[in-house]
């Protein structure tokens, strides 16, 4: 099909402009037998409300309890044989 046979499609409007102040939606993946993987624009704070040290956008939060880098996952769930399903 050549270009002029196609009716001109409207240019899609981006759902949000960068700098609009609208944050990217957050997604949380519950990784089977592993951590919670969190993507998007979110803030990670401690019990005192202060932001926790963080060096990457996407993080994995420990949900097995065995990590020595809590709240982040350090892969220890594999050593302890953590199962997320009963």
């Amino acid at each position: 099909m050549t270009a002029d046979m196609t009716p001109k499609a409207p240019v899609p409007v981006p759902e949000r402009s960068l700098n609009s102040g609208n944050a990217a939606p957050v997604s949380i993946v519950a990784c089977p037998n592993g951590p919670l993987l969190i993507r998007g624009d979110f803030e990670l704070v401690g019990a005192d409300g202060e932001e926790l040290p963080r060096t990457r956008r996407t993080v994995a939060l420990c949900r097995c309890g065995a990590s020595v880098l809590k709240p982040y996952c350090d892969g220890s769930h594999k050593l302890t044989g953590f199962r997320s399903e009963p």
Binding site: P32, G34, T55, V68
Partner: protein, 344 residues
């Protein structure tokens, strides 16, 4: 990269050829083709052949940082590529011999991810990380850094070649991982820069390729297998599988490596590389298994075998390197090439 010292007839001729002009190289190319043909037929095990592994490493290097005094026009010279393919073919055949895939999992992303975690969780021989944590001497830590430096000073580069060959979810996942590897825009946070810092803290030269002469053939083979997968589009599934397995076998060993360096009194400057990988790779392994490898197989189920092959091949060749190093250390020898003095 600085020119390495040749290790035999073939690597000598490769280096001589690429440091001359293309016009002057025609005769040596013809001779090279003959020599390689004979060598790949006669070699007992190409994985341990210094001359062929170094020749292949140098031919691949033309696609990365280049080699001092080698003209840039050699990169796509068809006659030189033909020589590379002769070595590559024998190498790939050997790597395939190394891998036996069991029952294939389903082609959903979760099934692929689970299979990769199973493969990487299976015990695969001696543990270098436990040894480094508990018993390695300071000299052995320096040797360890030599082996690692061949790749870590260009960490992430071979798999980056796969980016334009993927699409959708798998591509986004690979880019997400690589962005982290490359420091998310901060040059000092690039993993290769963190490793360079470790080397400086150890009093070593952090120039890319500075210790190439000391690295045995099997260490070069672990690098060449990544370039084989990264530079051949037909092997994009293997590149993805290789990276996934690499990320999945990284967090815990890096924690132990860090412990070994701390034990010898090295500070944060030396251990940050390893500490960073504990956290980073706990994230990367999830993205790599599920979104990158799993995403690729979901969109292209025909690549399932290639993905698993890449993962298994990386694990197998890395295990061989570990065995080489541990055997040397256990018998009180250096794991580096004897002829190459370790300048530090």
């Amino acid at each position: 990269m600085k020119q390495p010292s040749p290790r035999g007839e073939i690597s000598t001729l490769v280096l001589n050829t690429i440091t001359g002009t293309v016009d002057a190289g025609q005769d040596s190319l013809a001779r090279l083709a003959t020599l390689v043909e004979e060598a790949v037929a006669a070699v007992p095990d190409i994985l341990y052949d210094d001359d062929l592994q170094l020749a292949l490493f140098c031919l691949y290097e033309l696609h990365y940082s280049g080699i001092d005094e080698a003209g840039d026009d050699w990169e796509w010279n068809p006659d030189l590529l033909r020589v590379r393919q002769q070595i590559e073919k024998a190498f790939e055949r050997r790597v395939r011999d190394e891998v036996i895939l069991g029952d294939l999992p389903g082609t959903t992303s979760e099934a692929v991810c689970a299979e990769l975690f199973r493969m990487t969780g299976a015990d695969s021989g001696p543990s270098m990380s436990r040894f480094v944590a508990k018993s390695a001497t300071d000299d052995q830590l320096h040797e360890f850094a030599v082996h690692k430096s061949i790749f870590q000073l260009k960490e992430a580069d071979p798999h980056t070649f796969a980016i334009p060959r993927l699409s959708g979810r798998a591509k986004a996942a690979l880019v997400e991982i690589q962005a982290d590897e490359y420091g998310n825009g901060l040059p000092a946070r690039m993993h290769s820069a963190l490793f360079a810092r470790t080397m400086r803290e150890l009093g070593m030269d952090d120039t890319y390729g500075a210790y190439l002469d000391a690295a045995p053939a099997i260490t070069l083979a672990t690098n060449n297998v990544m370039s084989l997968f990264g530079l051949n589009r037909r092997l994009r599934g293997a590149a993805v599988g290789h990276l996934a397995a690499y990320e999945m076998t990284s967090s815990q060993p890096n924690r132990l490596y860090s412990r070994g360096f701390k034990r010898h009194g090295y500070g944060e400057g030396a251990t940050e590389y390893f500490d960073e990988h504990v956290e980073a790779d706990a994230v990367h392994e999830q993205i790599a298994g599920r979104d990158m490898a799993g995403g690729l197989v979901e969109s292209d189920p025909g690549l399932l075998q290639d993905v698993l092959f890449g993962a298994a091949a990386g694990l197998a060749i890395d295990t061989r390197m570990t065995i080489h190093i541990m055997e040397a250390w256990e018998s009180g020898r250096s794991s580096l090439r004897p002829s190459a003095a370790m300048a530090s």
